[in-house]
Symmetry: C2
Subunit: 320 residues, 2 copies
């Protein structure tokens, strides 16, 4: 089933210890759509300027990505410049030029309002709410955000969070938004706003899935897939979301087992993304490549068979 | 089957953001023996001064720990003082008084030379070699070490490593000893010296097991068990080794599956250790407590049943 994604489409300047790129195709919507298109039909909603290279639009079309929701308006495309240090952790932002993205108000074309999977990439939470209000009862809506909105639009973000099924944040964002040093306590605070699940992205340390409700610790953890060299971490979080949403949209499995496997797919897709600049590692990537890494990852992480009781419990639907 | 452990027995002064302790029972041998005694008979080899409190010796005896290899000599017991910052990562060493430990030469009593499981805690690698030469072909010998010996006795340490089946190091030690920034490449370099397996302790980020040989990535990874508050990380590595060796000695299972479960036991025992100062959390700990955490951990980390092929492969003996 289809996935609608709203977010930035950008031209990036990126510096890492492995080199640098100018005018690289970037933006959360770009990364997400490119990776998610391996799993399911993707509908992009965003904006670019008239300077946006035709080759990039052609690339999206070559992935069967629906661009009817992408506005092309007079002016310059959103640009971001960032630099990563030797540890390849958080980027230092060198420049942000909103350009046409500054006045962006997403309008969802009528025939896309029933797309069942919706991913709200990191944008102004007021826009995230605007988009959700245009969608007809999605089967699964998820959002990402960042520290900027937590500091400047906390109430709007809390409202947006209360309207989605799944929230994806990184470790420091969970601590910042919740004010809790302990990650599990922070997760509980965010889940108390309404979402059914929180996915915590932990970079090279993997990811966690915390489900709301229940007296037990509804906690699932995976390490990151080990890659020999991280070349450029840009887009790791967006393509994590793409693997996660893509797996769910492809399988329709909204059980706990489905969500767990979706987290693994997120982890694995991100592990490919960071192995090259921009979306370059994703261009030749196939679902078979991801499945091969999935088998290797299962082998690397399991130490016991699951009991029948566990398997049954994992199979119960927990969303929709 | 029994485990012989050689290492420091100490009185520690520890400061953490949660408080401080004076004259706390510590030392690698102490931590290891206390935790491993939950799994199997433990034989301690070490040295204390005449100032060492009788109550501590009585405690060891209450755990059925064999103290025939512990020398009590005139002088003061080894003392260590350290401080942990807000992140509870590596300790800053404030003071080290070797005292009677400075002249320690371990002599293994005759009837302990056939103990089948041997753990060489972090001590001078020349002493580790001395001890191994006194042991009669142990079923499993493992060692720990630290950055000091890597800097000052590199050749001796390489020789000691070549004589054991399993090496346990933390992440930064693997990088330091191997000179490789990439952990897997560093692991390969260490395994090329002869050991069958390397366990990499990663603190709050879990642990890895890398086996030598084979064309596949013989890699197993677990996250750390999430604990709400880390009170004092001292002894986490030593009790990781205790859970690892204890599980193997108790079950005798030296298959890959056995080693993986042993890594999980190491992770879990360490997760208890850090929840209080000194060995205080280990005093009331039972195997049932560890098994309960083991079940929870399996639940938290698995996302697929293992195939029969995987289970068969994991069951093949890989040591002895």
């Amino acid at each position: 089933m289809g996935i609608l994604v709203v977010g930035s489409i950008a031209l990036d300047r990126v510096e890492t210890p492995f080199g640098s790129r100018e005018d690289a195709l970037g933006g959360a919507c770009t990364y997400f759509a490119t990776a998610a298109s391996l799993y399911a039909p993707v509908h992009m909603v965003g904006v670019v300027g008239t300077d946006f290279p035709q080759a990039h639009l052609d690339f999206f079309r070559s992935r069967q990505i629906d661009l009817r929701g992408v506005q092309i308006v007079p002016g310059k495309t959103f640009r971001w410049a960032g630099r990563y240090g030797q540890d390849l952790a958080d980027a230092e932002t060198l420049a942000t030029e909103l350009n046409v993205f500054g006045d962006f108000h997403p309008v969802i074309p009528d025939d896309l309002r029933r797309v069942p999977y919706v991913f709200l990439a990191n944008i102004d939470p007021d826009l995230q709410i605007e988009i959700l209000s245009q969608m007809a009862n999605p089967r699964l809506a998820a959002l990402d955000s960042m520290n900027y909105w937590m500091a400047h639009k906390r109430d709007s973000l809390a409202k947006a969070i209360s309207k989605v099924h799944v929230v994806l944040l990184n470790e420091s964002e969970v601590r910042l938004f919740s004010g809790e040093a302990n990650l599990i306590a922070g997760a509980r605070a965010i889940l108390s706003l309404g979402p059914r699940a929180l996915v915590i992205k932990r970079g090279e340390h993997g990811a966690m899935l915390i489900l709301s409700g229940g007296s037990e610790a509804n906690l699932f953890m995976v390490p990151a897939f080990p890659v020999e060299y991280v070349v450029d971490p840009t887009g790791a979080g967006d393509t994590f979301a793409a693997g996660f949403m893509g797996y769910l949209a492809k399988t329709g499995d909204l059980s706990e087992a489905g969500l767990r496997r979706a987290v693994v797919h997120g982890t694995l897709v991100a592990s490919f993304t960071v192995q090259d600049f921009s979306i370059d590692r994703l261009r030749p990537l196939t679902l078979q490549d991801i499945e091969a890494r999935y088998s290797a990852f299962r082998w690397m992480t399991h130490f016991e068979p699951l009991s029948d009781v566990d398997v049954n419990r994992l199979s119960r639907p927990i969303l929709a």
